[in-house]
């Protein structure tokens, strides 16, 4: 799950901007000597270091991404269409061919 960094101006109490992150950190710590932010990435076993002067996006804050269920449903439908359907058609084709061959063999035996 991805996350993002948000900065608030303490005087205006308004959001200055935001920055997308590769993951969702569980913790953020400010280092006053280097003026850096340390982000603790619980799910990645890493710590990211970002300058507090990093350029932030001033676009509207991110809205929730399309739902997980919707995405998975779409994914499953596409996988079904691309993998399962051709596989089923192939099996049906093979079975039909085998049946025809078997019928032909039976006919040849009958003629013999």
């Amino acid at each position: 799950m991805q996350g993002y960094l948000v900065a608030i101006n303490e005087n205006t109490n308004s959001v200055i901007g935001w920055l997308p992150l590769a993951t969702t950190p569980s913790c953020i710590v400010y280092d006053s000597s280097k003026q850096e932010l340390f982000l603790i990435n619980l799910f990645n076993d890493t710590v990211s270091v970002i300058s507090d002067s990093v350029t932030l996006s001033t676009q509207p804050l991110p809205t929730p991404v399309p739902g997980l269920t919707t995405s998975f449903t779409a994914l499953i439908v596409i996988i079904a269409l691309l993998f399962i359907l051709p596989a089923t058609l192939t099996i049906v084709l093979i079975v039909t061919m085998l049946k025809r061959r078997s019928r032909r063999c039976t006919n040849v035996d009958a003629i013999a």
Binding site: A22, P25, C27, K34, S48, V49, I50, D52, P64
Partner: protein, 275 residues
Amino acid sequence: MARLLSCRLSACVAVSIIISLVTPVSAEVGTVIPAGNSPYQAVYDSSTNKIYVTNSADSSVSIISDSANAVVATLTVGRLPWNIVYDSGKGTIWVANAGSNTISVINDKTNGVIKTINTGSFPDPLAYDSGKGEIFLAGPGSINQSSVLIINDTSYSTIGTLNVNGGIVGCAYDSNKNEVFFACRTNSNSSVVVVDDRNDSIVSSISLANYVQSIVYDPKRGEVFVACTYDSVYVISDSTNQVTATITVGNSPQDITYDSSLGEIFLVNAISIAD
């Protein structure tokens, strides 16, 4: 065979398109430092310019030098080290080990554990009171009530206890007013409980509409910023103990910190999944 490969290629393209649709653009971060197993919380030590990170899954603390941006030492502490606080008066780091019901005290000069304190049960958030040289340890309790241990940072002994309503998820020390702010949750609501450290008594309880997640004190403005789910940060004045502003910050704030150089509050959010 060619048809099968074509099918698989089409599937890969389709999956890539879906992933790109549901996943926002990733940030370019400056440096990424490998930590221990499941790093959870961290604290900055202004005396040694090091970051101490609790690795919750391997009972250790990683010590990161901010000049090298690398782990310079790893210490073994108790089980499930979660919360951590820096005691600037003594030059020590206090680690709450939730899995072993202890606190490990680390000397920041030697980077050795100099004391292990039994807490009785489940220790959680910590706050350092620089005015009195005390550590406030929240945790033992339930979702409806928590007890707070007050520990002297010289003798390492418990000198007082305090009960607050709700489970404490974070605490912050207000050096201007000599008060400790506890962010608390119950099953039905959230509040910020204010404790005067002169007599360790509750002086105010501020109800909040959303569940509290994290709390930080802004000494310049004399305000406390409280990050709450679903998408808000509440600003509380330490003069009136009232909410003076509510800021919409986007989905699921996880943690919050104060940047004294820029006079800014930074927080990290999770991009929530809506369905």
